[in-house]
Symmetry: D2
Subunit: 338 residues, 4 copies
């Protein structure tokens, strides 16, 4: 079997992670790495014996089967368009693009070009989330009635990053929205969101929130509650609780160790990992493996551009709900800038 030839955009934190997975994969070859930061690019290429090039170099090479987009978010939409134009499969880190209109265009392009496309919603590939989803599918708790999804980052991103990302709903909540869509296997009919800035004067001054609560109502009447915060003293908090007719499934945080100390002051157990690269290491490897495997078998890739688009549309509706103070009915809803 010939190996899949893959080019990687981005030699930053996520690029380093994906490079290792591709380079160690028995059915793939890390052919190129491109990054405007040539030092990082060269170092990473050397580690894995890959070639270096730039964007044009990747798309000019017809032997490249697929690209992994782990570069700056501002470059995503353009790289997707070029991959579509040259017929290359795409694995893209979230987001698909900057702003609803840009994402919508990119998604339409992918659709027209019929290229294979997978979005890096990593939770779907985490073994803990995977087990919960499997138990749900196996009917372990019957029909779904209520879910509580909790995601808390240790601290807000720098304000410049927040501005570019468009705030907590588009940056953080979008992951929980995808988890809700995935676990319920249906799309919500409405969303209500409340939001506050509790952690920083800087965020508040620019109208950004860091603490949010969403209620999604599903066609079946089931309710999904999402709560997010950009403050968590005890590490990266990633939990799910799902209630069905015959029980509850609950995904707790993964502690850094299973060591407890019992003393006068209580029983002290370990906190979760500090942030996403530590928490989702297995998921990052598994999603790339699923991408490579899916391309080899021709099976459809999930989550795809439509999942990314739909999660973003609901996140935009949540932003709108905060602005208007009212729930948003999601059928055919689009933001004004669409």
């Amino acid at each position: 079997m010939t190996k899949l030839k893959i080019a990687l955009f981005g030699a930053g934190r996520m690029g380093v992670i994906h490079a290792r997975t591709v380079a160690g994969h028995e059915n793939a070859e890390l052919a190129f790495i491109a990054d405007p930061n040539v030092e990082a690019r060269d170092r990473l290429a050397k580690r894995h014996g890959a070639q270096v090039t730039d964007t044009d170099g990747v798309f000019a090479d017809r032997s490249i089967d697929a690209v992994i987009i782990a570069s700056a978010a501002s470059t995503h939409a353009d790289l997707i368009e070029r991959a579509a134009a040259t017929g290359k499969a795409v694995f893209c880190e979230k987001p698909i693009g900057r702003g609803y209109a840009q994402v919508k265009r990119a998604v339409a392009t992918v659709e027209e070009a019929s290229i294979s496309f997978m979005l890096g919603f990593n939770r779907r590939f985490d073994p803990h989330f995977g087990r919960l989803a499997r138990q749900l599918e196996d009917g372990d708790i019957g029909a779904l009635e209520l879910a509580v999804l909790t995601s808390r980052d240790p601290a807000p991103p720098p304000i410049a990053y927040v501005r570019e990302a468009g705030g907590i709903f588009r940056e953080t909540t979008v992951h929980d929205i995808d988890v809700a869509r995935w676990l319920f296997a249906e799309d919500p009919v409405s969303v209500f969101a409340a939001a506050s800035a509790m952690t920083s004067e800087e965020l508040r001054a620019e109208g950004f929130a860091d603490t949010v609560a969403l209620t999604l109502t599903m066609p079946s009447g089931a309710l999904a509650i999402i709560n997010n915060s950009w403050r968590s003293a005890y590490g990266y908090d990633q939990r799910v609780e799902v209630h069905g007719a015959s029980g509850m499934l609950r995904l707790e945080n993964v502690p850094r160790s299973t060591v407890a100390r019992a003393g006068y002051d209580g029983i002290v157990t370990d906190v979760p990992e500090p942030f996403f690269t530590e928490r989702y290491g297995e998921a990052y490897a598994a999603e790339i493996d699923a991408f490579i495997g899916g391309l080899a078998t021709g099976d459809s890739l999930k989550p795809d551009h439509c999942d990314g688009f739909e999660a973003l549309r609901i996140a935009e509706a949540a932003v709108h709900s905060v602005t208007t103070g009212a729930p948003v009915m999601l059928k055919d809803w689009e933001p004004d800038d669409a």
Copy 2:
């Protein structure tokens, strides 16, 4: 020290619990028990060496210092009015009365008569909730930012009871609303509620919900999320999670035992108690103890009629939010039937 003379209305489930506490209390005497079910009344009186009488008998006896109202909910408001008229202190099980207007009148009467009044919001007296509240007050997690309150009953009450109680918000959610007011030590400015009937065709047919999600927004911007259900396969579910600037406090369910079985199929631990009388036994004793103690020292009683009224008003607003599909701003808000 002379013992406080107490008359008890109601020889049912809660009456039996309160009778035991009063009869065994060193500063109180269980003088009278009244209940239209004379068989239950006589049996309970005999067990504790109390006298039996009827409503008129209690209020005609000027030596009675206080009454405990644990009779049918439909009798509460009238008994409160008569206690106010005769200057007796009142411990009243939730609710204060039937419907917002009746409760408002009863609360006004209590206020005018200046009698001592305490409402049986039991969670405030549970040792687990108490520890969480104390840690919060001690600043263990800093300023509050977000809370998730979960209460799930094992099954819906009979439909006739639901009709009389006015549905899940007034029956169940009102407890979580009181917990939110207590823990945040401030009153919410708005409430949004979503509701569904997932467990029974009967409830749905009459427009009652059994699965609800509320978002309360506090003056500080902090958010309180409440989720309730009338279905829980694993027993009575009573949990609290509170996030502050420097950490989280979390109250988990109390399992029936600490025994775990590890086998091929997993590690199986024990479920919580089935329902409230088992879960809150210590709280019921503690609240009566606080009532008797407060009357002895003259300290003000908490929670009082105002706490009961405010929790009900917010529950009514939640009902309104479901009807209109919009959040309710709580300042000066009253239901139409007020």
Copy 3:
């Protein structure tokens, strides 16, 4: 049904606990309380409306059906002999007497007199231990292969008490030996014990241990490991772990509350209760209830004097094992002072 007339010896810590249970029992009457500390005796009698008397007064009253012995350990054997002589049923707090020879005589007397006798090995009546024993009996883990029993007191008793009690094996370990006999439902064939004094120079100087490890070998080949200490920073530690052919049952400590705090320094949960009166409150009530119930029905009482004797004999063998540095074969073994 006529109530059982019970006399209580001892108005100390355990006397207070048992008085409450008897006084509130529907099938028993707390007739007498006797204690050389007349102040404590009178106070307790007043609280429960009991009469006061002395030892002779109790045994002279032929209407007394049963005695509860919760007085100083040095009085136990004599009170048992007198109860046997007057045909009264006995509930006796551990120990049956001081020293092996005295206990052996008392047990023989009980046997000859054929009085009903129950020993206060409280763990058998704790709901958590009870659940574990029931699951074991139900075959939840198959045939037993290995047990690890852990009991740790917060601190050593005063040295005078240690001298009188005869050290940790006779005072503390004897409980775990009884638990092993109860759970395995067979008697060990041998015991090996190792012991050290780690917590106090005073104990070491007098040859007493505070940290011990025992290996009991059962006829089936199953092994029971007991570890005890008189030091535990985090409270009274009472745990059981039992392994069978198809799994493990594990009894964990009961935390004082289910509240956890998550912060920078870890997740902090609550410690167990500080000591036995707090931990075993339910067990103390349940054992007295079993005693009263057993006398009413005529069912045989468990654990009885033979259980007490056998547990003590094994504890004595453990002492001998430490002295000789070798295991003791238990069949027909007796200490030299027998």
Copy 4:
């Protein structure tokens, strides 16, 4: 910096694991793989771009700096002797050799040749054990008083393997003995062991045990209790509990996931991994990393041949204790075949 040239003996389960670590290491090169199973050898070599050879080929190549011995246990001692003769550093999977006499000779050879030697006692490199050891060293619980070490394999090895390995003490318990020596940082003065065959008639018939309990007494008087079994329905059980003057440290099993299901039948959480390759994946990578790092810096390697020898000597004494039914004083003790 020039990379360390490493040859690997063994392309089986452990060889595959170590090959991956060496091949991906930035300071090492996987130069050769040798294994009599040429198919496995060639496949593994191809995966990592290594050369294949045989034992003579490895030792004839003077450019090879170090060997990793992950071949059949019967080959270990001979490979160590040849490495000593050719001055190559050695990382050796447990055991050092077959039988006490052979191990003693091999250890003496290593000592004389002064080669660097590291033994694969993997628990010392597991992040959970590491955290416990660090907290211990930091004085989090004060001076050690008691430890309970639990290791349970899911099932006995095949009888042929048991014969070759010499039974559970030399195969399994030796790991816990090393953990005890490591955590206490002192050597026990005596060992007592009890043993039974509970899981298989075949083992019993040949005089092998599958269920054992050891008591090690430390010079300080501290006690270490080890319990092992070759039966565990719920997976590979690896736990540590250490008590000190000011508290307890406890290492619990690592569950396969953090998902719990709550239903009518209880709260079901996930079991640990099935066996050592899954449980100790991180440890295997970390120990090789420590080996390569230690050779680069010249720091002394731990655990070394002396640690391996001492753990084996204590395991032999445990076997002797079972045979004689008495504890063994460890000072200068050697088995008869020494």
